[in-house]
Structures are given as C-alpha cells and as structure tokens.
Subunit: 436 residues, 2 copies
Amino acid sequence: MIHSRVPVSDLREHVGRTVSVRGWVNALRLQRAMQFVIVRDGSGMVQVTHKRDGGPLEARLEALTPESAVRITGRVVEAAQVKLGGLEIVPEAVEVLNPAATPLPIDDHTGPEQRLDWRFLDVRRRPAAQLLFAVQTTLEQGLREYAYAQGATEMHTPKLMGTASESGAEVFELGYFGRSAYLAQSPQFFKQMAIAAGIDKVFEIGPVFRAEPSFTSRHATEFTGVDVELAWIDGVEDVMAFEERMLAHAIAKVADRHGAGIAEHFGVQVTVPTTPFPRLTMAEAQEILRKGGWDPEGVKEDLDPEGERAVSAHIREATGHQFVFITHYPVGIRPFYHMRPADDPGLTLSFDLLWNGLEVTTGAQREHRYDILLRQAAEKGLSPEPIRDYLNAFRYGCPPHGGLGMGLGRMLMVLLGLPSIREATFLFRGPNRLTP
Amino acid sequence: MIHSRVPVSDLREHVGRTVSVRGWVNALRLQRAMQFVIVRDGSGMVQVTHKRDGGPLEARLEALTPESAVRITGRVVEAAQVKLGGLEIVPEAVEVLNPAATPLPIDDHTGPEQRLDWRFLDVRRRPAAQLLFAVQTTLEQGLREYAYAQGATEMHTPKLMGTASESGAEVFELGYFGRSAYLAQSPQFFKQMAIAAGIDKVFEIGPVFRAEPSFTSRHATEFTGVDVELAWIDGVEDVMAFEERMLAHAIAKVADRHGAGIAEHFGVQVTVPTTPFPRLTMAEAQEILRKGGWDPEGVKEDLDPEGERAVSAHIREATGHQFVFITHYPVGIRPFYHMRPADDPGLTLSFDLLWNGLEVTTGAQREHRYDILLRQAAEKGLSPEPIRDYLNAFRYGCPPHGGLGMGLGRMLMVLLGLPSIREATFLFRGPNRLTP
C-alpha cells in the first residue's frame, strides 16, 4: 500500500493517519527502552518514536546514521510532550534511501574553510543556509518582475571573448582551437551592443569572471552579476531611478515572503527602502568624510572601504536610509566609456550605490558618440584595434544609453548581514578555491 | 519646451499635437519639392514629411543617413494617403543623436557570416530578430513561472571547475593563478550537489561551454542551458512529467503574447502541446525506424540526426504531436551517472526530448547510491580521483533525484522555424567565431 508523502510542516493535518515522510536523520537518541529519531525535511523536523520490541524495525532504526536519507512510514499521533509540534510518528516502515557514512566530515564547530569543502552538508544542515537560497530566488524574481514590467528584454551575452577588451588586466585567458579566448569580466560591451541592436532595455543575470588575486570578504573570481542597460535615456539620473525602483520592488517582495524567517535565522530586520535614495556627489561625500578625519593627507580620489562605510553611516544617521548613490566620480578612476559632463570634463556621469557601507553597484551613462569615445579610449592609453568590434557599434546610430551592474552575492550579504560573500554563494570561487 | 516622447505605435492618440519620436532613419526619400524620412522605433514606423523651404530644417534632413539615431519633434497630422498608419509628422526640430556612417556594412543581400560580423545592425534592422529576443524573454519567463510555482530554487552554480570532470574531452582549459581551471560543460555535477545540499528542486539558466569542433547548424561552443534537477523522485517519469508541463506552460505563454507576431514574421503557427507528450523507448523507436529503412546495417546504438527527424515525423503523423520523449537509452551511449533499471542493467533510466526532429533535452534519473556510482564510473574507465568532490556528495545521504538540461537556442530554433542556432543567439560562438 502506498501512503501519501507529507511534508513535515503539514503533519498536523494527518493526525491518526499513516503517512510517509522523507528527509534526513537530524539526530538519534537510542535509549534502553525507546528509540527516538528526529527527521528533518525542507519544511521542518519531526520526532519518530519507537518502543523497542526486538523486531526488524528496531534493528533498522539502530543502524541509522546522522544525515542518512530516509523514508519513514508511520502513524501520526498527538504527543503533547514532544517539543516538535506536539506530534510524533510511530513507525511502521523505515527505508534508508542513502546511508550517510560516519563520522560526518563537519560538525557545528568546523571552521569556515572546511565548511566550504563540504558545502553540500553545510547548506543542508543549516536552516539559515536553506533560507538564503530561497531569498536569492525571491530577490531575483523581484528584480525580473520590475524589469519585465518596464519592458526589459532578457539577454544572454557571451562569456567567451576574442580579445581581453575591457581592461586587459584581471582577465582569465583560455585556449580556444589553437588561439586564445578570454572570459568576460562583465557583460558591459555586449549589453551595449544589444542597445546598438535596438533592444530598448537590456536585462541579464549571469556569471562574471575576475582574475583578481583578492582575498577580502567581498571579492570572488566568479560571481553572479545583475546587469541592466537602458536606451534613449535623458541622463544618468534615469538609470539611478530605474535601479532604486527595481531594488525597492525586489526588497519589498523579499520582506513580504521571508521577513519573519530572516529575522529568526539571521537576526536582521529587512527594511524596504523608500525612493528616491539619497544622492551625494563624490565631492560632497569627500567633504563630509574629511570633516570626520578621513584621508588626512587629502590624496585619495576614490572612496576606500573605510570611506564607503563612513559615508553610508553618515547618511544613515542623517536620513535613516540604508542606501546612498555616490555620483560624479572623477575621470581618473572610471573607465573610458563613461560619459563626461559637457561643463566639467574632469568628472564622469557615473555612480556607485552603497548599501550599509558596501558598494553593490557601479553604473553610468555611456559615451555613445564615436569620436569622443575614441578620444577617451586614447586618453586612457587604449589602442582601438583590440576593441574594434566594440567601437564599431557606435558608428551606425547607437542611441544615448546608460546602465548598471550589481553583484548578487554582495546584495545578499548586506540583506542578510553575512560576514562574507563566501556565505552568500553556493559554491564560492576565489584565487585559492576551485573546489568543490 | 519639452514635448512628450511618444512611441510610434501610439501616435494616433496624438493627432493634432506636437510630440517627439526617437528612433532610427529607416529610409530617406529626398525629392525635388519634398523630403520624406521614415523613422523606425521598437514599436513601428512613421513617415516624416517636410516641404522644402530652403531653411535649416531642410539642410538638416538632407544630411541624414540611414540608421542614424534621431529625435524628431513635430506635429502629428492625418494623412490618409500614407501607408504607415495614415499619419505623418510635420517636423519642427530634427536632432541627430548619433549619425550612421555610409554606406552601411550590410544590406538585405548580405550573407549570413557577414551579418554575424555586424550582428547589432542585423538585429536592429529586422523586426523578426527584434521579436526573437522578446520571445526568448517570454519563454524564459514561462519556464521560470512554472518552476517557481513548483517550489524550485534558482541556483547559480560555478562555471569554473578545478578538474575536467564530466568527460575530459571537449572541455576548455584556462590558466588560474598558476594552475589550470576548466569551464563547466553543464551544471550537472553542481546541480546534483545542490540536491545533496537539501535543495528540493533546482532551476538554473546559464551559459555552458563545449570545446567541440562542430560546425553544424545546431552546435555552438557556448550556449544558454536551462537546467532542472528534482529531489526525492519516484522515477524518471517524474522528471519527464515536470518537463512536459513546464514546456506546455511556457509555450502557451509565448503563443498568447507573440502568436500573431510569430505567424507574421516567421510564418510559423505556434502550437501549444498537449500533455502528456508521446513516449517511445529507444528499442521501439529503432524498430519503427528500421521498418522505414533506417540504418540498414543494424549497427547504430544511438539515433543520428536523420533518425531523430524520422522518428519525430512518425510520431507527428501518428499522433499530431510535435514532441516525443525517447527513453531507455543503452548504457554504452549514456554517462556513468545515469541510473540503470534493476531488471535491465544494459539500459539507463534516461531520455531525450525531440521537438520537430531536433533533440532539445537530455535527462535521466541519476544514480545516487555511492557504491553503484563508483562501479559505473570504473566501468566507463573513469578514475575516481578527479571526481572525488562529486562522488563525496553521495556518501552522506543524497536523496534519489533526476533532472534535465535543455538548450535555449535549440528551442527557439524549433519554435520559430529558424535554419540555424546562429539565428537564435544574440552573439554566436563557434570554433571559428569569437567575435564580435
């Protein structure tokens, strides 16, 4: 006889009936007279209670190991004394679908690197980690919903490139049928080609690759980028307005669906941001920071992580807002394709978005005028030949446009208050980590 | 004064008013007394009509070139004689946002390879190509909707791997901080790790990389894969049932939103498939084919493209259905991780899905039992060491599971009746093509 498979969270509806649950052995308490097995599935945990009787079921339960995948069929009964929902299952059949070897290679005291070695066990055993990927799914769903509603087209641009175009440094090179190819550090050039191809609003979520030997808590050699590019904009403000509304929509969706769980498992209250987000020019940000003693030598062009945290803290204190756009970065620290304001060619029409002190986005209006783009590339010491295909996209009527790139892992880090991007990624990749 | 920006398709609502349209110069007819400019945006085309008057506007219109990006401000007037909607715009201001050089590098007679060299112009100038990416967006949206509704979690698994694990052949190798890394040929191993991590239903859309020197109309070195993996299945039938419902949902969404446009631009009537899809075992398929004279030597284990087309045609004739699952592939032509039926170890619990004669999916129940998996790997001549991390996922309670991988470009090919996957991809990558 087949019994209906029931998620643990629904067992109360089946009191008095025989059902099957499937999941993992979370814990075993094998006492002299009684055998207790805690079974965990994606929805919760339930106690299986068996009175020893010398029969085959007793032997089977005795042989269970923690984290084995099991299917247990039994009667659901009220048991007020049981903390897990006041229910227990009296087993009739116990099936081991996949036994777990003992001992497990990680436990609650295992350090972070070894947990990454056994990431599948690390994620499976921690409800917070399970929740993280549910939150990621909802966050993406929210971002896409907004982008779709604005008429965006989802594109998949190549990760294999013929030239190390964007910067030359920090790019992975591979053998490609007797020549070299390179992994895209972002969809930047290709999403701009999609704009030149008449796609009005481009949306892409996909992997980006950075050959940076960085070992910080916020860098990875491969991460998931969320990219947007918008045609026919009047200015970079249109890009920031798109982003803040997209984020507010997606975060509201996360708060609605997972707010309580995030509070329970991460101790974080999700705040749905109001729009517009605060904006500061880089000059204003630096003035604020220098009053607070940042960069006493007065030599820094860019914000360092300390500066990012301080300016975010300042805005949070002044306005209560977790986000701040920093705009008008100087030309020296922005790529050649960022547009410059006509009245101040030392600046760019660009922005970063900081969220609770962490940079989560870089964006800009792009220079779409061929002659100016060529001149700006030359100023940065770039030869036009390796980027000829890119430059050609601006010779035949490319409309004004701008866009942004977000790091999905960084957003999850801030949203859930995680100490490292390693925790916000299923299988992290860094200079010293290519496995599992 | 700022005039409201109006998409061409909405102009009728603005008759008698002054508006701005932005788009590309589709065609110019500069006559002795009159100047006509056809402007195209994403929504349609409109005629701009100017009577020569020797003024600056005349000079500006005279200097326009095809495909220049323009903003034209003018009054919308009724003009029954004009084929484009019975309207025209009498211009008051003409702004060239980005001029197009002349001549254009491609025209209506350009061959396919050179069109790929100038893909952005190729896509921009053809309404069918514009529609293709809208269809891609809707198709993905439909696939995701179904997967989300089933409780799937969207994962982003690494494309960088430490070992050339899946097959060894056909894999791209890259330098990685003094050692080698490899590009994932599919998310296969990683989505199975996600199952081992307790994720119940895994969904991923992302790039996959194949170092195959194939030059057919259906192969690419990089393409977009749609991957699903399902835990706790009772058998491979659960995987096929998931796929056919997911496809039926997504294709219905495409038919609803784009059916008329697809009929107009591709000459294809979108058929929403009924479920369940027909199923044939490989043995049945071969019997049918051999009756029709296929493989007269009787030596082929697998279906070749000709066999795939013939069996699809047979099913279409017999049942009217465009889809057919071919199941129970022999062990010799399936990877080591496909599960084998207990009563027939020469076969696998696997399937391909053919759509109008083209293979668009491979799927299977996976072998989750560590000892058997190890034995099957050894039988295929695989050493366990390079796949140790993968194998470890089966030692600690990995539940029964199965899944599938679809090629997004191949599905678009069939859906829209395209002759080549090159047409179904924004920027195609093949052994001889790494640009633009």
